[in-house]
């Protein structure tokens, strides 16, 4: 399972490096569709859901939708993100609770490069 995730993530990275130039500056969202898919693949416990939400995101990425900031949302058990280790650990994603529906917004830690 993890291999599939890594492989897909790798493809996305390749796409972002080269192919994205063919349709340069197309995406109407932040994060871009490819980045969104990457975050989903890396955080969503269900691979199927990760793929599904990424596909739906691409379908939404057209002129009929307004675009804007749209973070991936995932359902994870709170225990999965509780801080267990004391000491320094690099934060890769922030999980921000969505409006009381048990889901979490996934935000990649690109803003501050520090430790938690």
């Amino acid at each position: 399972m993890n291999m599939i995730r890594t492989l897909l993530s790798g493809f996305l990275k390749l796409y972002q490096k080269f192919f994205t130039l063919l349709g340069y500056g197309s995406c109407r969202y932040y994060p871009t569709c490819s980045e969104y898919a990457k975050w989903q693949l890396e955080t969503n416990p269900s691979l199927l859901r990760a793929l599904l939400s990424s596909a739906i995101r691409i379908l939404r990425c057209n002129q009929l939708f307004d675009g804007g900031i749209d973070y991936p949302k995932v359902s994870i058990r709170p225990s999965g993100i509780r801080h267990r280790h004391h000491g320094c650990q690099k934060v890769r994603y922030w999980f921000v609770p969505d409006r009381g529906n048990g889901k979490w917004n996934v935000i990649k830690n690109t803003f501050s490069k520090g430790h938690s």
Partner: protein
């Protein structure tokens, strides 16, 4: 990594995506010249053997089916023509074993440069269409040593179908093959045996007129549930059987020989020959009428015989999108006689379908200029942090409903459309030798003077010129600027029709962008 290096990698990667599949997964067959040599080499041999007694040694072991029946002594011993059938569009020859040994196509579009009629079979491969093989080895041996007698040695089919009866007397066991030929490339046949014996009939080895590495050739079976199983040349794994199949077809790029039955189905066995190419056999039933087709995979002809028969026109793994695309092209072609302009019209049609999206995008652009000061503010504020800058920009666009970007979906939709047109251009016989204007006299092959690819590159460059872009990564910007050049080279070997499609598409994009730019300009002046 240098810029050039990246450009090279980008080219290679795009190649993999666009046509890599075909190159990687399709067997590379030697061009026809090699096949012709083979013919020349083996032809005298065959002739020599025909002169003497039927050889009982040197059997063509490799080409015999393994399971359903024992080996015949030789397949090509009785190759003298005993009956010739003339229809309005083909000449069919039957050999002394009651098999179709050659088919000449009469229609003008199927002639070669010198105006000679094309022959479907150019190598002495067996089985030939309508070849009967018995499971009983002794009987089979005898059947391949005994010539058939024929009811008519020359028939002309014009309008009404004509029937020929082939009879073979195998020491009292009588084989009767009744073939009814229609003027539209299809035929019916019945095999009657004086006493029941298990036997097989073959629709024949595939035609070998157009064999290349770009398109699929081999055999295909449409199973009872409509599943299409393709066994490409070089990929036949041994004996495979299909119960109650609907179609069994052996084909090259443009031509096919098939048996079909859409009501009661046919039991098909696929064997392999020495080159691991598939060889088709259909289980015979004494007295049962079966249907066959031999000729070009032309939509109009197949449609007239039976709409289901059009399934033998196959576009590779992209059929599901290429087939509808082909139908649209055919429909447009009924109004536009020139295939080149038909492709231009198709491009226009696709743009038209996407117009509601484009229009919405254009309207939202109007509001963009009001945001100019705010955009500048964001750009200044987050100068060192492109992530944050992008996030704020997108949110600003959303707030004011003025997103200038097209979106990923319209961009990604282009890919299947592009693929589909590529496959249609390669596989559809209707587009073989299709002209456009001036120097383009065959849209299914590359532009011999490189004019279209160069124009395509130029149009791509022009599109970049009129489209505003802001790169945060200077390296990306450099690669972006080089893309038109990369694409020109990349498109050089593509069928001219595909380059024409992309060129037209670019021109429409430029026109659209200019329109948007003008609207923005007007708004600025109005201020």
């Amino acid at each position: 990594m240098s810029t050039q290096m990246r450009v090279v990698i980008a080219t290679v990667l795009s190649l993999i995506v666009f046509i890599g599949y075909d190159y990687l997964f399709m067997p590379k067959i030697a061009p026809q010249a090699a096949d012709n040599n083979k013919t020349a080499m083996s032809a005298p041999q065959t002739a020599a053997q025909t002169e003497t007694a039927p050889p009982s040694v040197a059997p063509a072991v490799s080409q015999e089916p393994q399971k359903p029946k024992a080996a015949p002594v030789r397949g090509d011993t009785f190759d003298r023509v005993i009956s010739t059938v003339e229809t309005t569009n083909m000449t069919m020859e039957f050999d002394a074993l009651g098999r179709i040994s050659q088919v000449y196509l009469k229609d003008r579009q199927y002639r070669d440069e010198a105006g000679e009629e094309l022959k479907l079979f150019n190598t002495p491969k067996i089985p030939k269409p309508l070849e009967v093989r018995f499971s009983d080895p002794r009987l089979n041996d005898l059947a391949f040593k005994t010539p058939y007698s024929v009811s008519l040695s020359s028939v002309t089919v014009d309008g009404e179908p004509k029937t020929i009866t082939f009879t073979q007397d195998l020491e009292g066991f009588v084989v009767e093959k009744v073939v009814t030929i229609y003027p539209d490339h299809h035929y019916d046949f019945v095999v009657r045996l004086s006493e029941p014996k298990p036997f097989y009939v073959s629709p024949g080895y595939r035609p070998d007129l157009r064999i290349d590495a770009y398109t699929v050739h081999g055999a295909m079976v449409e199973e009872a549930d409509g599943t299409l199983t393709i066994i490409e040349d070089g990929d036949a794994k041994g004996t495979e059987s299909f119960r109650k199949a609907r179609i069994a077809v052996a084909f090259d790029r443009y031509y096919a020989t098939a048996f079909y039955d859409f009501e009661s189905g046919i039991d098909v066995v696929v064997n392999k020959d020495a080159e691991e190419n598939p060889v088709l056999f259909v289980s015979g039933e004494s007295g049962r009428t079966m249907h066959g087709y031999i000729g070009p995979k032309e939509h109009k002809i197949l449609m007239a015989i039976h709409p289901e028969l059009t399934k033998i026109i196959e576009f590779g793994w992209f059929t599901f999108i290429a087939a509808p695309m082909f139908k649209v092209l055919l429909w447009l072609h009924t109004y536009i006689p020139n295939w080149g302009w038909t492709i231009v019209a198709l491009t226009f049609l696709i743009r038209l379908i996407l117009y509601p999206l484009t229009y919405k995008g254009m309207v939202s652009m109007h509001r963009l200029k009001e945001l100019a000061p705010k955009i500048k503010e964001i750009q200044a504020k987050y100068k060192g942090d492109p992530q944050k800058m992008n996030a704020h920009m997108m949110e600003l666009y959303k707030k004011h409903k003025a997103n200038p970007l097209g979106g990923c979906l319209p961009m990604l939709l282009q890919i299947p459309v592009f693929f589909a047109i590529y496959r249609v251009l390669l596989n559809a016989i209707e587009l073989k030798g299709a002209e456009w204007i001036l120097w383009i006299d065959d849209l299914s092959v590359m532009d011999p003077y490189y004019v279209l690819p160069i124009l395509m590159g130029a149009s791509m460059w022009a599109h970049q010129m009129v489209t505003p872009s802001n790169f945060t990564d200077p390296m990306q910007e450099k690669i972006f600027k080089w893309l038109p050049v990369v694409f020109t080279f990349f498109f050089v070997t593509f069928p001219a029709g595909l380059v024409l499609y992309w060129l037209t598409n670019n021109i429409f994009s430029i026109a659209q962008q200019l329109l948007i730019n003008r609207m923005l300009e007007k708004n600025k002046k109005a201020e």
